[in-house]
């Protein structure tokens, strides 16, 4: 088991190098740092000095890959590639284009993100599983058909409308909770409840429908038929046999997204003014802060790969038939 995990972690290295290369090419080769400086300074007639000064300020005044003027190992390390890309491997994100320490910002902002993402995941999971189980219990009745229609309709609504609608109904019409903002400690609760509700409701359509197929697939298996033939009641069949086995794909799917919860929900956070990583990313995109976007790309890939490894491990834990080799 540990050998497997170590091997998987080693596999992750070439992938991260690949991610790094892609971002490097995107950010520095397709457009030179000069282009970036001109864009940031925002004027057509920027002087060459201003561009040089901007580049020096942000550490973009080095050669891309190989510094012929430097001494010794500095030939390779005093370059943009080393400074801006390779250092990401040590989780050294450097400073943003506006001069803030990205690593510090990320550590600060991941907790509000988690405070939304985790409740959304857990409550959503509970609701989706119960609803899907209910549909399966009443399968081939009008409840089933009506629910599926409802779910497809809910799937067809853009997430933006859930947020706008939730904000309008709960916040503006009923004045129950503040529309946006954030606070630390227990006071955060009243700011979090609306985004969490919106997140859960927005996920019901897709989630419940997926779980319903998992349950139905399981409910049509031979062992379920045997259980019914034995004379077990439908309730017991569903909870003891169907639910237990259908939980395998559900749980492994959840494990895969666990690490990504830190990344936060982009749109939700920026709509509700939550100072999490999602709104951080959006702000960076809007301000065209390339350093932050680069850091988030790398962080996202690391977490994704972590999720993949966790998925594989969780398979062996819930399903004894699967062995890692």
């Amino acid at each position: 088991m540990s050998a497997y995990i170590i091997r998987r972690l080693l596999y992750a290295i070439p992938i991260l190098i690949g991610v790094n290369l892609i971002t490097f090419v995107l950010f520095f080769v397709v457009n030179s740092p000069d282009d970036m400086a001109r864009m940031q300074l925002g004027d057509k007639r920027v002087t060459a000095e201003a561009i040089q000064a901007w580049k020096a300020d942000h550490g973009y005044d080095r050669p891309l890959l190989y510094n012929a003027q430097a001494e010794g190992t500095d030939k390779l390390t005093d370059t943009i590639f080393f400074e801006k890309s390779l250092k990401l491997f040590a989780f050294d994100f450097g400073t943003s284009d506006s001069g803030r320490d990205i690593g510090y910002d990320i550590r600060q902002r991941m907790w509000p993100s988690l405070a939304i993402a985790l409740p959304v995941l857990l409550v959503g999971l509970a609701i989706n599983i119960s609803y899907a189980l209910m549909i399966v219990f009443f399968r081939a009745t009008y409840i089933d058909v009506g629910s599926v229609v409802l779910l497809v309709a809910m799937m067809s609504i853009s997430g933006l409308f859930y947020i706008i609608g939730g904000q309008f109904l709960v916040g503006k019409l009923f004045h129950l909770v503040p529309i946006s903002g954030y606070d630390t400690g227990l006071d955060a609760f009243k700011f979090l409840i609306l985004p969490v509700i919106v997140g859960v409701v927005g996920g019901i359509g897709t989630g419940t429908r997926l779980y319903r197929t998992f349950f139905l697939e399981e409910a049509n298996r031979d062992y379920v038929r045997t259980a019914r033939a034995k004379g077990l009641r439908e309730r017991i069949v569903l909870f003891r046999h169907v639910l237990k086995n259908a939980l395998i794909p559900i749980l492994t799917g959840v494990v895969a997204v666990l690490p990504l919860l830190f990344m936060g929900a982009l749109i939700t956070e920026s709509f509700f003014g939550i100072p999490g990583l999602g709104s951080y990313t959006i702000d960076a995109i809007n301000r065209q802060d390339f350093a932050i976007v680069r850091a988030m790309v790398f962080l996202g890939s690391v977490l994704y790969i972590l999720g993949l490894i966790l998925t594989d491990i969780s398979y062996t834990m819930v399903d004894p038939r699967v062995r890692l080799s």
């Binding site: 853009s158 904000q167 990313t281 996202g300």
Partner: protein, 488 residues
Amino acid sequence: MPVILTTDALIFLLIAVALGYGVYAAQHEHLRAPWRSVARSRVGVAALVVIGCYVLIGLLDSMHFHPRVEPVAASSAAPAATDAARADAGGAAAAPMEARYSTQVLSVLDVILSGLRERQEKTFSAPFATHLFVKEPIEQPDGSIVRGYPPLEHGGAHLKDPSRRGFDIAVRTVLGAIKGLLVWMALTAGLVWLVAHARGETFNDGASAIWQARTTVPWRVLLLTLAVMLVLGFVAAELAAGYHILGTDKVGEDVFYQSLKSIRTGLVIGTLTTLVMLPAAVILGIMAGYFRGLTDDIIQYLYTTLNSIPGVLLIAAAILMLQVYMTNNADQFASLVERADLRLLFLCIILGVTSWTGLCRLLRGESLKLREQDYVQAASALGVRHGTIISRHILPNVLHIVMITVVLDFSGLVLAEAVLSYVNIGVDPTMNSWGNMINSARLELAREPIVWWSLAAAFVFMFTLVLAANLFADVVRDAFDPRLARVR
């Protein structure tokens, strides 16, 4: 003078591909059977009619041209010349009296909707309003100035007495419905005749067979859906001639016009993305599964790497870079439309890059299975070349997976456009799209009373398309993947 934008060309290419696939599918029973079962599904047919209406509008909007500029004399003779024509005429004034084309790019849809496009108001107005939504100083006949809601320039301007608006709307609705029903009856008669002819029955027998749903293809559902769409369309057209039926936005543009123009953007994102990613996904996926070994490792590495970058961030990074490029090379683009179009295409490509991995992985798995099949083994033992094996034995057997993915992806992509535009990494801000409509309307939500019509319009148009696409995708999936259909 016709103009073919890059996305237009690709749309026509897509249609050609679709037609080619249709011809191919018609000759092969294993592809024809699932489509036949799609055509027999009531939900499928109804969804298809709705999607068809959208596609029709999208296609009309994809035929672009430079409008011909009227000679100067003519336009100065007509004082009611529109803004656009006036601007163009100004440019053409110095030119000799030969055929001149404006630099403006219009589509056929623009011409059909020219009334809507040109009837601009000053700023917000509610649906069916006769007065502006915001108070402005109005000069009274006696010279005094009162703050009030000024009347609209176009919306409801034909009314002599604004209090008769309800009656006028009712009359126009009925008129539109009658027109729509007349067109529908003409189409129905044609269809009934065709069906009766095919069944070898008289017209009356054919009609009653359709009406009692005794036909294998649910023509009745098709006709009913068509009736709804036609009546809605004609009523909207009739009303839009006199009012802004969905209101106007901040700069006074008709929201109904914007919604219709956004259809093309949504369809382009939903379809071209797939067209762009399809070759890479199919070729690489089959290669990985068929050749295995080193090829497989490289391709798997490639898609795992791309997949591990969060999609939104990759798109953001790519679009930011495109913006940098466009700002620094602004002179390369002849017009704003071309620039917006290029950005749309680029968005499709980058969305394709983030979404091809799923299909690629599916195809790899399927090819791995297929290459062990006896007939593939036999072919390879007989010395058939790899290329031939792939095109003869592997490709036809994975086509259903491709088909299902294409249809399933569509609605997700349409929804993604809205989200991306909200983050400002979607289509160009000058382009009409549902995402841009939502984005600009969002800023007005704080107003009191609330400006809701832009959001509502974007919601209705998007919801209809995505719902139809989702329902259609379900039918297609059930038809192509019988295992799932049994389970569900």
